[in-house]
Amino acid sequence: MTEAEETLKPAPDVEALEQEGEIAADYLEGLLDIADMDGDIDMDVEGDRAMVSIVGVKGTELVGPDGEVLEALQELTRLAVHRRTGERSRLMLDVGGFRERRRAELTKIGKAVAGDVKRSGQPKALEPMTPFERKVVHDAVAAAGLRSESEGEEPNRFVVVLPA
């Protein structure tokens, strides 16, 4: 990145991201209270995103099969933030470390598939994934020195790893 580009890229507004986290925490804490679930809410800022994690909840009601409840709850939480700030939120929600574990798994998959594609010289398509999951795979493939693209329409959008 050149110096000019660096100055053009706006620095993340940490204060605004922290405020996003606070609004999200209120919304989620209210839900935990009503559902009579134990659990704490951790807040963090990672790069240009607010990260909010619900930790210490028993059961998987808030994650759901393949994380679908987690994705839905993240969507609603972003809307709750948007209503209060007027700004579109890119906040990331995690429950019980689900995303962290999924990230580790998908990084491994991305790396393995990149290895396959390097050997075969043929593009390879993966199964449909959420935007978060695709991003992790794209990053892992890029780290292995190959390119990948997303194809298809949500919710069946999938990653294709391309040969060099």
């Binding site: 839900l31 009579d36 009601e61 808030l62 679908e68 609603l76 709750a80 209503r83």
Partner: protein, 79 residues
């Protein structure tokens, strides 16, 4: 608990939270939660392509421990 959870989730995303009403009804296949919102908020709780309505249904069904819950979204003016 589900009515209350749904009411909280909806109130947090609309412009007129005081107008949100949730009523539970029993049907043969399970339960229906009927959500009434201010007419200006109906579009908001449905979302683009029904995205927000789907998210509300997914979260409530996640909390319902396997029992089927239907969610109807209507505006306050609907009788």
């Amino acid at each position: 608990m589900l009515e209350e959870a749904l009411e909280h989730l909806v109130k947090g995303i609309v412009e007129h939270p005081d107008d949100v009403r949730v009523r539970a009804r029993r049907i043969r296949t399970g339960r229906v939660l009927e959500v009434r919102v201010h007419p200006e908020d109906l579009g908001k709780v449905i979302g683009r392509g029904g995205r927000t309505a789907k998210a509300l249904r997914t979260v409530v069904n996640g909390l319902s421990q396997g029992r089927y819950v239907r969610i109807d979204l209507v505006d306050l003016d609907t009788a």
